[in-house]
Symmetry: C2
Subunit: 240 residues, 2 copies
DNA sequence: CGGAATGTTGATATGCCTCAACTAAAGTGG
DNA sequence: CCACTTTAGTTGAGGCATATCAACATTCCG
């Protein structure tokens, strides 16, 4: 049974080289765990959190609340992710973070993290790199969601989630959890839920992918990659 | 006449607190300057640059090249910005950086920057914060460009550029430079150039803004903010 | 002065949104 | 356990925003 320290280390090792001493320092971090109800907010737009969130199980998402009250999901996060690491250096949250389905998180005091980075700079660099990969994912979302047709956006999104779930160790065979409703999927892709439903049927029709009951089944990854014009380079899964 | 060190310091001071010793360390940085022709690429998708780019004059943009060859601009950058700071910790560029109109840049060796950060951690934090603000701008672009109507996207974009040009000291009265063609503006907002032209006329019709010959004139900022649902909080112009 | 790039306008086609109705599944209280 | 309610998913019809195609005007530049 992996501890939450293991989960964090697994993620950092996926893109950064860390020494045993670095690992040991991470294992000494004080982490408070917390269970989240489905849709529960962890941090809200406007807050100034003093703790960083580590996803331990389930999934967590970031979203903007627009003046109209509409919601735009910005990204979804897997165990090992630090979905609000940017709050370490930006005082006021410009977006909210909530659970998608039931989830559990770890909370690490900003103070402890900053002390850790001062003591072991490579850990600071690793978390910095983590925030930079986040930014790369946002850039991909801009390109994907602005101007591509609905089913292409959806294909791209499914490809990304399939890859990231793999890195997080959540894939079983060709299936991974993705506990979004079609409405939420639409709020991620910038589509109405009616159109979301129709685009989903279109993708099902290609035989490349199935998405139902919060599970994503990848039937033909190569085909879906082509439909979604997906190139995983931006995920930066290379151990530097 | 400000030096390129002044330009960088001005930007870092806009969001980070730095001591005189930090400033002095920045002033010792070796910076190679380079003039760029309009549209010239600085770094390309797939490259692994060894230098960080500092915008000194003119403007620089980041963009994705899509498989179809189409271009999606991700962000534009002003003097003082470090538009490819993420390359410090991500080996392969997932996007390109080019000049918009004539521009000049400074090039700082990654090695020198990393040495500087090790010596003076607050400077590392300041540049980290810089990259986090970039990410916040990307998040805003996701929300703005996915699902909002064309003229709203454009109004939001103009508001952002007006604010950022102000921080960069480029505003003269109610006017600031924005040397984009309508085609490029469309490639930023995810609109065809025909629609871009029509949305621009629509905005002109409101009397809130004028955009012509690469100059942006803000005639009624409050009105344009309302049209574009613009809240500058995400720009994080607070001296932490 | 001539050619190229940029901006403008009109007409048509298409993708997506909205409204509306209905089905299926899941949870609730009697 | 079943009727009831609620939520999620599905389908159809109509309208609107934007893409595309095409022509033309304007500005820039050699």
């Amino acid at each position: 049974m992996p501890t939450f320290h293991d989960i964090l280390l697994r993620k950092l090792h996926a893109h950064s080289f860390l020494t045993d001493a670095d690992d040991a320092a991470i294992r000494n971090l004080r982490i408070l765990t917390k269970a989240l109800a489905p849709e529960e907010d962890v941090v809200r737009q406007g807050d100034s959190p003093q703790f960083a969130v580590l996803v331990i199980s389930g999934m967590v998402a970031r979203y903007h609340t627009m003046p109209s009250g509409q919601r735009q999901y910005l990204s979804v996060h897997y165990p090992g992710d630090l979905p609000d690491a940017q709050a370490l250096f930006l005082d006021v949250m410009d977006h909210s973070v909530c659970a998608i389905g039931p989830a559990s998180i770890g909370m690490i005091a900003h103070k402890d993290l900053l002390t850790l980075f001062a003591l072991r700079p490579p850990l600071g660099s690793a978390v910095w790199r983590e925030t930079l990969i986040d930014a790369a994912i946002f850039r991909a979302a801009i390109t994907n969601n602005c101007g591509q047709l609905g089913h292409i956006r959806m294909a791209h999104f499914f490809c990304e989630q399939y890859c990231r779930a793999g890195v997080a160790g959540l894939r079983k065979g060709k299936t991974c959890p993705l506990p979004l409703s079609q409405t939420q999927l639409g709020q991620t892709l910038g589509l109405s839920f009616v159109t979301t439903n129709r685009m989903l049927q279109k993708l099902r029709g290609t035989g490349a992918v199935e998405f139902r009951n919060g599970m994503l089944e990848m039937r033909d990854f190569d085909k879906l990659k082509e439909i979604g014009q997906f190139d995983p380079a931006y995920l930066h899964f290379d151990n530097a």
